[in-house]
Each structure stands twice: as structure tokens, then as C-alpha cells.
Subunit: 164 residues, 2 copies
DNA sequence: TAGTCTATCGCAATGCATTGCAATAAGGAT
DNA sequence: ATCCTTATTGCAATGCATTGCGATAGACTA
């Protein structure tokens, strides 16, 4: 997803989550349902993303894909990642340095917290995030997207150190 | 601030906020206190940032600075922005597209909310953010940095439209 | 004033992400 | 099997941000 202001998430767009069918099968079905094609490269990119299990930057994914297929180019990788994201199978958020970090939706939706003091990075699962999302909704009316929740602050131990 | 994981905010680093002295004077004092120099270009860049009053991307600032001084280069602009940030006079966050957005600390600390449905972008002032920050602290122990609070989600009207 | 030290600047190169365009390949229809 | 339509791909170019390096210029000392 080039992620500018023109990009929109269509309401009600969710992958079928039938655990019986493999991820690859569901991906293929989703893509073909849109009149698009499921190619070897797309399979490879999805595999690499799945193997990266969690968090990989765009550049890392490009590198890993190219390691497996020299003919793959960055544009194809990024375009495929956009496609996976449009279909709801993957998502990305911008890390502290503004670079993209992708993960599969298979991994439970989660936010990210970065400590400006020690650099620690922790994840935030749905349960922990729930009260936060509730507070955001109360204060603003917005239903925040957990996957894009990327926060910075100071972790407990750095706060303690600073207060000393 | 190149904003990678090596960058750290030192505790207790806050600009003097004596409203008597002009921003330029305080900047100059802060910079020189570190054995560094207050140059014409730095003054210009600070002026441009102040005139942009709130939100300008790095590229926009570069463009405006170059409009006033052809000899200025992107590297100087970004390095100066980093310096202003280190001194606590400015800060940046990454917008939805991952690009940098800078503002002076003069502007009250505030977060940003982007709607994935309609693209609306609203600001979040300290008061509105307070319960959110409190929820984050309760859930995680982190003291989140309001200026870096950059959230995405769905605004009330888009939520209503989706629920239809 | 002359000399030294070092902060700053411009330049050029690099990395990451994106996009337009032309060539290709896949799939469906006849 | 052949043709036609259109999705996909690779390439090259672009934009934004960053960094190393050499040249410059400012500040301070003697």
C-alpha cells in the first residue's frame, strides 16, 4: 500500500478465516476472486513474509525474496505486499524510523511500543490494547486500528531511572 | 534526528521556556551553550519552521528554505532540524505515509489521528489525549510521548457509514 | 594579527519506497 | 490452436531522507 491519503480501506473487507484451508489457498482464492492472478512470485513473497513471522521491513523482505529468486525486483515485492494488504492478509506500520514493517494478519493484530530511553520495543496484544482503544474512542470517537498503533514513550524502568 | 534505534532522548532535556526572550534568542543561547554555532542558515530554517506553524514535511521545509536561500542544501536543513529536535525546540512524527512532519514545540504538544475511511486528519490536544495516555500507562507502564502519538483508525462518520 | 581547532556546509553518493511505461505472459473466448 | 484482452513484471527514473568527506569559515588562543 503506497499509503498516501488516497488509499482507503473498504469496509467489510476481511479475509475468510476458515482454518481448514491453507493460507496459500485462501490467498489464491481471494486474488482470483478479484480477477487477478496468483503467480509464482506472489506465492514466493507470501512465503517469505510468512517465514519472517511477524516483523520484517520492506527492504528485508526484498532482500529475502531476491535471495530465492534473482529475477524479482523491489517494485514487484512492494506491489505484492500492497496487494496482500488490500486483501487483508497482511498489514504494515511505520517503525520509529519511518520505514515500513510488514506482518501477516495470521499473527494476531497487535500494536507496537518503542522506548525512547533504552530503545526497547515491545508488542501490545489485543487484550492489552483494549482499554487503550476504548480510551481513544471515548476521547475522539475514532475506532483506532490496532495494527497501526505505533507508539513511542518511556518504558517503566527508564521512567524510574529518570525520576531518580 | 535520523531517528534510528541509536537515537536517544536524554532525560531532563527541556528548553527554557522563559516567554520573555524571543525564540531566536533562546535557540541561539541553547546552541551556543553546547559549543555550537548559531548561523544565518540555522536562523533561516528556524524562521521557516516557525512560519510553517505546525506541520510541514521535511521536503516542504527544504523547498521553502531554498526559496529564501538558494545555497541551502537538504542535508543542512535536515541536520538543523535534527539539532532543533535534540535541543527540544522542535519535534517530528511520521505521517501515515511514513514521511516526516515537523513542528515547533511552541505549538502545544499534540497527537495526530488519521481516518482510513475518508482521509480526514484531526489533531489531538493535550487535554483530549490525557485519558488515552493514562490508559496506555495502565496497560503497559509506558509513558507515551504525545508528540509521536500518530494513530490511524476510522472516524465517527465513517464508522456510522460502515455500520449501515 | 597570525595561527589553530573544530563546527558547519555543500556535494555527491546511498538506501528505501514508489511510479510510469513498455514488454511479457496468463487466461478466456471463438 | 489462435486471437484478444488485461494483469503482471522489469526497468528506469523519481522523491525523500541520510551520511561521509573534503572544503570552508568561525571562534578562540597566544
Amino acid at each position: 500500500m503506497h499509503c498516501n491519503k488516497d488509499s482507503r480501506i473498504l469496509p467489510g473487507m476481511k479475509p475468510t478465516t476458515d482454518p481448514q484451508r491453507s493460507l496459500a489457498t485462501r490467498l489464491q482464492a481471494s486474488v482470483q476472486a478479484r480477477g487477478q492472478r496468483w503467480t509464482e512470485q506472489r506465492q514466493l513473497i507470501a512465503d517469505v513474509l510468512a517465514a519472517s513471522d511477524g516483523h520484517a521491513t520492506g527492504a528485508e523482505l526484498v532482500e529475502r525474496v531476491r535471495a530465492a529468486d534473482l529475477s524479482a525486483t523491489p517494485s514487484t515485492v512492494y506491489r505484492t505486499l500492497d496487494l496482500l494488504e488490500e486483501l487483508g492478509f497482511a498489514s504494515h506500520h511505520h517503525g520509529v524510523d519511518g520505514r515500513e514493517t510488514y506482518h501477516l494478519e495470521e499473527v494476531l493484530a497487535h500494536g507496537h511500543l518503542y522506548c525512547q530511553g533504552c530503545g526497547a520495543e515491545v508488542e501490545l496484544d489485543a487484550t492489552a490494547a483494549k482499554p487503550i482503544l476504548a480510551a481513544i474512542e471515548r476521547a475522539t470517537g475514532y475506532a483506532a486500528d490496532l495494527d497501526h498503533l505505533s507508539l513511542q514513550g518511556r518504558c517503566p524502568s527508564c521512567r524510574a531511572a529518570a525520576a531518580r
